[in-house]
């Protein structure tokens, strides 16, 4: 059919010519709007006058919907239905029962028919049943695609995870081999630096595992959330205090701008993770002697938290995969910065839980601003 996004193939199996022609006439120019889209589905009808020709056609062709009469010249419709179900064909079968007996219809649906139509039926009744079937098919297909997409994403995640976890192991193993083979000479002091690196890589790996657990807990929804009015300013101040030493080491000034206590319904530990991620990023990706400002403000129907740093910033290209798992910006400026590559994707997942948004503005060598907005839930 022209002008439709999808054409469903309907096979009608009935020995009554008039029935077949009637069904073709009813469905020929009929369209159904697919759920949640503006797309239309149309129908292409093919007819079979006996069970044998229908069954043999199934060997190399597939309909989407079958209208199956129970009373056929060769085989009983119910028998055909049993065969279809046993073979596990994915199409939907609608039984047509000539003598509108309730128990036949019940038997057919019990056996696996999608629906039934009792003869005689009007074109509208036929269209109604077909529309229902077509929506079922469409939703099933959509669910299958989603499932497929989820499986693929999971595979990709695990592949990258394996790669990320093996990298530190390889590194540690390499240093162990160096020592075993005395590659850097007989002096034990020559191995101080390598052993420092071993510690750094192990710490990073441990941090990655912790982050990974956070991420899966948030994603799976298994973490118990306690949403209650909480002062965000107090949380921010606590996080800044925890990170003070880290900032002081590189002479980075940390400021908190919040006019007053800012009570908002949140889960405290989620907010602590969120603030910690943005604050540690603001320090790690800063320049020595730079500054990080955390600013909190109430907006109409929302709260806004901004993390403004004077750090190394990012190019537009570097910003693209920022929130993707394990995505880390690799350049000469970031070479000594440790990170799991999960911090921002954890933060994004937390923000999603609050139906909030996060925006980034950044200029390379100037700094970045991350702006998180959490709306008041109605």
């Amino acid at each position: 059919m022209s002008g439709t996004a999808k054409t469903y193939r309907v096979w009608i199996v009935d020995d009554e010519q008039g029935m077949c022609l009637g069904a073709i006439a009813a469905l020929e120019n009929y369209t159904v709007q697919l759920d949640g889209t503006s797309e239309l589905a149309g129908f292409q009808v093919e007819k079979f006058f006996d069970g044998e020709s229908f069954l043999s056609s199934l060997a190399n062709d597939r309909p989407d919907i079958v209208l199956l009469d129970n009373k056929l010249p060769d085989i009983q419709g119910i028998e055909i239905l049993e065969k279809i179900v046993a073979e596990g064909f994915p199409f939907l079968t609608i039984m047509i029962t000539a003598y509108a007996t309730f128990d036949k219809a019940v038997l057919a649906t019990k056996l696996g028919a999608y629906d039934f139509l009792a003869k005689p039926f009007t074109p509208d009744e036929l269209r109604y049943v077909i529309r229902k079937a077509c929506r079922t098919l469409y939703l099933t297909e959509k669910a299958r695609k989603l499932e497929e997409e989820k499986r693929r994403a999971r595979f990709e995640f695990i592949s990258v995870l394996a790669h990320e976890l093996k990298a530190p192991l390889n590194s540690v193993e390499g240093y162990a081999d160096m020592m075993i083979n005395r590659t850097a000479g007989p002096d034990i002091g020559s191995y101080d630096q390598p052993m420092e690196r071993v510690k750094v890589r192990i710490d990073a790996m441990r941090k990655m595992i912790t982050d990974l657990l956070d991420l899966t807990r948030i994603e799976s929804g298994t973490r118990n959330r306690t949403i209650e009015e909480t002062d965000l300013r107090e949380i921010a101040a606590g996080v800044l205090e925890n990170c003070a030493q880290m900032a002081a080491k590189r002479n980075i000034t940390v400021k908190l701008q919040a006019a007053e206590a800012l009570n908002f319904p949140v889960d405290r530990s989620e907010m602590e993770v969120l603030f910690t991620n943005f604050v540690t990023n603001g320090i790690k990706y800063n320049r020595d002697g730079g500054s990080l400002t955390v600013s909190l403000a109430r907006r109409e129907g929302a709260v806004e938290m901004a993390f403004i740093d004077t750090g190394i910033g990012m190019t537009a290209e570097e910003q693209q995969n920022l929130f993707k798992e394990f995505s880390r910006i690799k350049n000469r400026k970031t070479r000594d910065i440790q990170g799991s590559g999960l911090g921002l994707s954890i933060s994004r997942k937390i923000i999603d839980l609050y139906e909030g948004t996060v925006e980034v503005e950044s200029t390379a060598d100037k700094g970045s601003t991350f702006r998180v907005i959490l709306p008041v839930k109605k």
Binding site: H163, K166, N170, E173, G174, Y175, D177, M178, K330, R335
Partner: protein
């Protein structure tokens, strides 16, 4: 005394870089290191190495391939080895010997990480002769 052979070693893992460099230097090579494609390109403007050893995934997923392409275009006689852990982890397979991939993978050899230093040195010696 013969002149030391120069190896260009490119990897974004600084530990891996350090370890391989140490091993290669012990084996008598002179080693220049870079942590990414761009840094390597800068080095190549002043040095022509006897062999280049490149990690595959650096700034980009295919930085190694791109750098190999750059090298073969500028200095086709320099043998290129690509090292990657991707084949093992993600189930991707690159086969230097299949005719289709020979066309676009501009490397003389692709070896899987982790690479043992002896193995790497053997490959280098085979390629530079």
């Amino acid at each position: 005394m013969t002149k030391k052979r120069t190896i260009l070693l490119v990897d974004d893992d600084i530990d891996y870089l350090f370890q391989q460099k140490t091993a290669l230097e012990q084996a008598g090579f002179q080693v220049k290191t870079a942590e990414g494609r761009h840094e390597a390109r800068e080095l190549l403007s002043e040095t022509v190495p006897d062999c280049a050893i490149l990690d595959l995934m650096m700034e980009e997923k295919d930085s190694g391939f791109m750098l190999a392409y750059d090298i073969k275009k500028m200095m086709p006689e320099v043998p290129v080895i690509i090292m990657t852990a991707v084949t093992n982890d993600a189930g991707f397979k690159f086969d230097r010997n299949s005719s289709g991939e020979k066309e676009w993978i501009k490397a003389d050899t692709i070896i899987s990480k982790p690479v043992r230093p002896e193995q790497l040195i053997k490959e280098i010696n085979r390629l530079i002769k």
